[in-house]
């Protein structure tokens, strides 16, 4: 009966949501089990992905190895104000992935290695869309590598932390409003690789058999991009001094810090509820600018304002132990956009969003589990007039992200009630 009620709520949530990822260009796909529960995991340590969600919680997770990959299929539509043509961005699939492995060093200390892709975005607009002189294509990827150590302070308290080494790549392409006599149009492409460092710390508290809590702080990661390539194409010879060939640039992108609080409660045997709250300090992303090696009247180091605002996210997830072989999960999240009115640009047509998630674990044998997850988000239509570029219209974005993962336990489970 309870399950039917839950199912009803779930279908209701699905029909109410218009559109669903995490605010800004954050990609909240760090663990298949957590994703299935709306991305909760700060106060519910279940597997190796806890190294991301709360390194303190790792103290309560058995030695194991986890691998996960999601296919992220975003789709964006745009209707310019006063026109009747809807353009749709090219469906570009991303594959955020995660890898976690950890082992006991002593009774109290665990060491682990985590690798995940917490930030990224990618959109390719049609070649002749009306915003082509603002953006044709963006592709932003990051990979975080995080060696982690966790210390079990007591049977109830665990703390942990990790150092983050981050690598990333960026590609931006737009057209320039210069038409050649043969009707070809000039374009600019910026491309480069970036790196940065940061840390991730957390504390985890098992209050009793039913209730667990956690707190995590993900530091800001300043990605530095040096020696990027700036390539200008179809430039008339007469303007070649304005758009020099073989130009390079440097830039910095501040990936925001995040504070996360989590709580889980076992309501009933085989039914656990988890709630997370995330505050992401997006105000670190106040502008986007490039420092070119060669400056001209058209190639300047001027910064383009973004003025992102700190944003909150609420996540509620549930796990049902359906049978000895199967767990089912679901979740709903409400995520505030960091993109303020007047500063939304085609690189990230963001909005407040509601997402629904589903997930499951199928235990193939005592040690091997297959995890699956699915996120669906639809962002409410957002009408914006960008203060800098004048782009005036309505964006609509949908994202669907199915994922699959593999868990392998290094030792057999002692009891079925323990976390795995």
């Amino acid at each position: 009966m309870k399950k039917i009620g839950l199912l009803f709520l779930f279908c209701l949530a699905l029909s109410l949501t218009q559109k669903v990822m995490a605010g800004g260009f954050k990609v909240a796909l760090q663990g298949q089990k957590q994703v299935g529960m709306a991305g909760t995991g700060v106060g519910f340590a279940r597997d190796g992905a806890t190294m991301y969600y709360n390194p303190g919680g790792l103290s309560f997770v058995k030695q194991q190895f986890n691998l996960g990959v999601s296919g992220l299929f975003p789709s964006t539509g745009f209707l310019e104000k006063g026109t009747n043509t809807v353009i749709t961005s090219a469906n570009k699939m991303f594959t955020p992935f995660s890898f976690y492995a950890h082992a006991d060093v002593s009774k109290r200390i665990k060491l682990g290695l985590a690798m995940y892709t917490p930030f990224g975005t990618g959109i390719a607009y049609p070649a002749d869309w009306s915003g082509r002189y603002i953006l044709r294509k963006i592709d932003l990827k990051t990979v975080f590598i995080q060696p982690t150590v966790a210390l079990k302070v007591s049977e109830k308290l665990g703390i942990g932390g990790g150092f983050i080494y981050s690598t990333g790549s960026m590609l931006l392409r737009k057209d320039l409003p210069i038409t050649l006599a043969n009707d070809e149009i000039a374009s600019a492409e910026l491309q480069g690789k970036a790196r940065g460092t940061g840390y991730n710390v957390g504390a985890y508290f098992k209050a009793n058999d039913k209730m667990e809590l956690g707190i995590t702080y993900h530091s800001k990661v300043k990605m530095k991009l040096d020696d990027g390539e700036a390539v200008f194409s179809n430039i008339p010879i007469g303007l070649s001094s304005t758009f020099p060939e073989n130009n390079t640039f440097t830039t910095e992108l501040n990936l925001p810090a995040e504070l996360a609080l989590g709580f889980s409660y076992k309501l009933h045997k085989g039914f656990t509820l988890a709630i997370d709250f995330n505050r992401t300090y997006w105000n670190s992303f106040d502008s986007l600018g490039f420092d070119y090696a060669i400056n001209t009247s058209a190639v300047t180091d001027a910064k383009s304002p973004r003025l992102y605002q700190n944003s909150n996210c609420f996540r509620i997830g549930a796990q049902i132990n359906a049978s000895s072989k199967v767990d089912l999960r679901l979740g709903v999240f409400f995520d505030q956009t960091p993109v303020p009115d007047g500063y939304m640009s085609p690189e990230l047509p963001d909005n407040n969003k509601t997402g629904v998630t589903f997930g499951g674990t199928f235990r193939v044998d005592e040690r091997t589990h297959v995890d699956v997850s699915l996120i669906y988000e639809q962002l409410p239509d957002r009408y914006q007039r960008n203060k800098e570029t004048g782009l005036d219209g309505t964006f609509q974005t949908r994202v669907i992200a199915p994922g699959v993962g593999l868990t392998y336990l290094f030792q057999k489970r002692m009891t079925k009630r323990k976390h795995y």
């Binding site: 779930f10 699905l14 789709s75 043509t85 809807v86 210069i178 038409t179 006599a181 669906y376 004048g390």
Partner: protein
Amino acid sequence: MQKIFYSLVAVGILVNLFSCKHNLQQKSMDNGNADFSRFVAIGNSLTSGYADGALSYEGQFNSFPKMMADQFSLVGGGDFKIPYMNAGAGSDAVGNPRYVLAYVQPCGSTTTTLSPIYDPLGVTPINNVATEGPYNMIGVPGARSIDALLPMYSALNPFLQRYCQSPGGSTMLTEALRVNPSFFSLWLGSNDVLLYAIGGAVPPTSMYSPTITDSSSVRIALTYIVDTLTKNGAKGVIANIPDITSVPYFNTIPWNGVVLTEGKADTLNVTFSSAGLSHITWHEGSNGFVMVDSSSPGNMRQANSADLILLSTPQDSLRCGSWGISPLKPLKDEYVLSIDEIAEINEYIARYNTSILHIATTYKLAFVDMKSYFKTFKSGTIYNGISMNASFVSGGAFSLDGVHPTPRGYAFIANEFIKAINSTYKSTVPYVDPTKFNGVKFPY
């Protein structure tokens, strides 16, 4: 249980994801209480699509009435027939094709720069297409408001003669009435003052010299046109006259374009004082060109910041022919608008515009305030990441003749018309996408 759960979820997702592609379409496209089935555009060169100093097929294809007609076709608009020129570089009716940008080596310089030249394709002969009429496009380069009612004008103006029913008998208005218009655009009156201004506001030397049309004649002509069309049942849109000093033709050559070294300035001071022109002095840096002014000693003075030097001034003569820096070669009146001439021109534009607004109100027409709109070009504007201003060539809004817009500039004008129409006639005609049209084209 599980099966029901999964199937519900699957159905929900599939419905959301596939049944509605991005359902962002405008709620409705509607003609409101206007009927666009027989649209006629009446006007001068700006209506015809004239650009780069000539009327060409390409210009006509990128004219603002053609863009409007394309949008009207989405809300019940009919065929819009244009008296096309043959493909090519077009004609200015006095033997020249359009301008194109090319790399040229200016006199006295060792480097090449981008500069407008006549299109090497050569002039396109003016074809006669009268037998295929009637046409919806009655944009006649050179036409003043008063010309629209003169039968003689259809014999004199080759751009009208080529497609009117009976040269010397037809008028622009009778040509327009042939399509029994249900909707019209009327943008006339610029040439009643612009031709005079472009010619440097010189006193008339013959009956063909451009003059300023008396403002009551403009009012009477425009009122007659609108009255005739509306009596015939048409609704329409009327636009006023832009301030001519908004366009690059009057703003490209700086008044103080004489840049001197100290030595050169000293030499010129000696030359001018020995010629009895000691009121003209030179100094290191930028100096005003010397220009003809009958009220000054020796009939000349230096230009000041209130004077506008016209784009028609031969640039090579400025650069290498000592124009404007020699007591023998002051800039002629035809190349300069002085503060008094500008005031006179603006006074007339203001009077015409008062009449146009009055006509719009009286006949309940949609009204486009082009005078204000052209000012946005002058101050500079950004559209979808494209910055545009009234600078010659680099500004992107005006073509190489410095007066007529580029195709992109015309697209913005089309949208101003559509905006006015939508607000007056409660229609929802979708806008033109200006990014689909080019600005000034550059040679590779």
